[in-house]
Symmetry: C2
Subunit: 311 residues, 2 copies
Amino acid sequence: MATMSTLFAKTPLPSRSLSKSNISHFAPPLTSLSFKQKTTAPHFKLRSIRAGLIEPDGGKLTELIVDKSLRDVRKREAATLPRIRLTKIDLQWVHVLSEGWASPLSGFMRESEFLQTLHFNSLRLDDGSVVNMSVPIVLAIDDEQKRRIGESTRVALVDSDDNVVAILNDIEIYKHPKEERIARTWGTTAPGLPYVDQAITYAGNWLIGGDLEVLEPIKYHDGLDRFRLSPAQLRDEFSKRNADAVFAFQLRNPVHNGHALLMTDTRRRLLEMGYQNPILLLHPLGGYTKADDVPLSWRMKQHEKVLRLTF
Amino acid sequence: MATMSTLFAKTPLPSRSLSKSNISHFAPPLTSLSFKQKTTAPHFKLRSIRAGLIEPDGGKLTELIVDKSLRDVRKREAATLPRIRLTKIDLQWVHVLSEGWASPLSGFMRESEFLQTLHFNSLRLDDGSVVNMSVPIVLAIDDEQKRRIGESTRVALVDSDDNVVAILNDIEIYKHPKEERIARTWGTTAPGLPYVDQAITYAGNWLIGGDLEVLEPIKYHDGLDRFRLSPAQLRDEFSKRNADAVFAFQLRNPVHNGHALLMTDTRRRLLEMGYQNPILLLHPLGGYTKADDVPLSWRMKQHEKVLRLTF
């Protein structure tokens, strides 16, 4: 559904109110921002401040990219396996899964994960804990593809140029209950839902789940890959920058004044609570968004300009 | 949706295979059943046997019938309140709620409970624990009823003869998103779902939630009320009978051989596990079931006969 583009701003936040007439100057340069070390908060009694990064869902970041040393072996193995050609959206999901954005998923959902997502919007893990999981991350295949897979327990996933992207291991093939999937995910079966039209209605009647081994990090070669940090890279970045709080703003639009005010206010509150180095993660959605959205490349130009002016 | 009729059988279980030709003799008399005291199980290593009744969901059985001493006061209060006339199905839900079958619900769902049920098939309680709650238990009202309620914080619920059945306190009125409710509950919006046709499609556009005070235990005066034990009465009964295990069989049909085999097998396994006095709760569904089901009164006759022959 969406791959992730990321930008950092240590302090892309205005210390004065925004000029509506000039959005590109919405933030003053860094030096004008106050970094007074506050030891007590004006409004909140300071008791304890958590400064560790929160755990990934399930306790461990599930990265699914094979070690370089295994890449060639896996490529040779893949050559012998039945192939499934990925759509553009499928490939974006491989990207999401490969970097651990959907931890603790180890690949496309098997039926038990799919059903838990449909019915409970969450997954129960082996240790009894429950994590949010409200969107089915599934791979559809049609009758002919299912027939070709036959008794194989592994399949190779290939891109539109037939390059092997990943291997799906220990596969499970089960029915794709499209109407139920749509009804339970969106609460309606009305025609015209963009993702439904794009990725479900004409998709195959079967879903295939399994453990994913991705051969190389997914890249898009669109000039924006440098913004696409993985969760592990983000976590490193937070540590390098000595963040004692991270606040994220995810958006599908260019930054506008309302967004900026939300970010400003959040930063102010974090400082008031006693945090000394809150870091903003500006998190534009890439991949499949709405057809009439401002294209990602333009949004990124705006975000970059905003950040350049900030620092 | 369903009120509950209950029958007990200490041992309505065959010790020999069933005769297909004579269903009413499916079980031998009690005396032919073996009650050997087993201290170790043949297949399972006996470690510890739980013999306490499980807790009601949420830790406490939520009974909503007002104390007799308050009944007259509440009746007088009800006379001054806006009235909502209950359908037959609404009244059955009042019954379900009043006796704690839907613990920990304290009345018809408010919006936050309704949304949790739709999205998570469960409710998160104040202490962070989660209980199953997959069916919305809601009361629909129409625009005119909503107008008549106005600013009142309480309403009286009346039956088809205008007798006050209950008071709903601290009410919350919110939109009845019928399509979403149907889609998320059934995973389809296809026409012809019996409960949808009966209780949702023509119901009002609003839902009203609140804390329920039921004036008297709900009775149906159909000759079957003696079978309708409340959860509290059932729990007493289990204790009186010194059950060290209770196994329940809920059914919407007359008992047939397959059912009987399931019950037999369950009892056998419980004895093998080391339980010494497992009790069967035979639990026919009453209330709104399918239009072409065998009527409850006939099913109960069959169950009674079966049990009489068993003892």
